[in-house]
Amino acid sequence: MNTIEFEGVTKVYDDGTVAIEDVSYSVESGTTTVLVGPSGCGKTTTMKLVNRLEDPSEGTVYYEGDDVQELDRIELRRDVGYVIQEIGLFDHMTVAENVATVPELKDWGRERINDRLNELLELMDMPPAEYRDQYPRELSGGQRQRVGIARALAGEPDVMLMDEPFGALDPITRENLQDEFLELQQQIDTTILFVTHSIDEALKMGDKIAIYDVGKVVQYDTPQEILENPTNEFVEDFVGADRGLKRLQVTQVETIMTKPAEASDTGALAADGNGNVARVLSPTDSTQVALSRMIQFDVTRLPVVDGGTVVGEVTKDTVYDIAQTGA
């Protein structure tokens, strides 16, 4: 099922600037689609067409099969979560009041709002007892954006729009939040449109990526496909000269591991008596991690361990193959 569908959408602003031209693609429900491109390429405009912060000049945007122009824009926005780079927390309200914004607009009962609040703050790793009554000014940048995300999720939206949500954070906080969000995404099963200008973030977060060049979508594909078969020079440049390495980043160990011939083949694991788990891989590690550990420990093969048992093995050659395909 497609939750969102763009069909021949063009947006021309009043001053004559063409933001996007004839954009068509559809977003499958439950997936994360990342809109990526240089600034001014129309990615944010595309996103704003979904919750009608902008209206298209031509073409149609469908939300769960309905033309958004036919929907009440206030209702629509309450059903669609919205997160922005500047976060935009209401500084005069507590964390709880901020998060409760949409449930209150939707007139949920007090008990339901309360349960939802506690659930979300737990999910965001911000114990309600400690954080409920704090004000935004008392929080760190990362915590503020967590509250921003919780606020967007509060109304149980089917779709989340996220406009460079981690853009203003320091690199360490950003990475932590990205990782947390990837985990969160598994639990909430929401369709996500995610805008960023960073190809690395796009490759990390996206099930599908729409690459924008000035006003146009030049490629809409899975991260693997974009890395293996960039459609044109712009995409190739945008992805960068190190796309072999980036491919390692988006490929998980479990997709290339081979079943070990016999148990004795796990020498690397046995050799490490200090309980140093870094000498093994988990199936969800990226092949980049695999390569990095091979270099670090100067080995050519590493066991893959899941829940204490060895489930496979990765060799340096197979990792190299990944980096080389399509080059």
Binding site: L53, Y82, I84, F90, H92, T101, L105
Partner: protein, 243 residues
Amino acid sequence: MSLTTVATDWILPTVVIIEYLDFFRSNSSQLLRLVLQHINITLITIMIALPMGVALGTFISVYKWAQTPILWLAGIMQTVPSIALFGLLIPVLGIGSPPVIVALVLYSQLPIIRNTFIGLTQVNEAAIEAGRGLGMSQRERLQRVQIPMALPVIMAGVRNAIVIIVGIAAIGAFIGAGGLGDFLFEGIRERYVDMIVVTTVVLSLLALILDYGLGVSERLLRARNGEDINPTQFTRVLQKVIS
């Protein structure tokens, strides 16, 4: 130090101050009554002027076309001398406090309208954008986000208005509204300097106290809005009490 300089430098001022204190003591119940009258006029005025000014300021923040004419009108009001305005209102409203209150409401509109407008339009842009994206209607955005966040700026306008009101209300005694102006005009008629000086001091103190009190609430509102303030001792104590 000669005797004459002692007399002029020390004895005379002391005598004068003692005279003032005497006047204050012997007329304290009268003064208190006038102060209460004055506060009464001020409060009634602000109770009308505040909602009106906030409503007009909000209106022009939504309907930009009305911005120039309304701010212009409110500005013009302030240039009309109070005596002239009273004169114009007496045929309609008679004498006493009604024309004075109407005039004071008109005088206090500019600071309140202007600060409301500035407060609403210069509120944190990201918060407004977030409110829009989360599905707040314009009214809900005003109610839940813009007005609460604009409160400290509106409060600064009210402070400004209060000082104007307290000052001009004194002239209202001229047309029978009562208040501390009664003693001022009586003092002028009777050439009773002690009366004029003491009343003026009381009047200034009243304005200063009201201004300070509102200044404290303005700082408290700023602090609640997450701004870094440099709190005075009193504000700090109040913040502790509140939290």
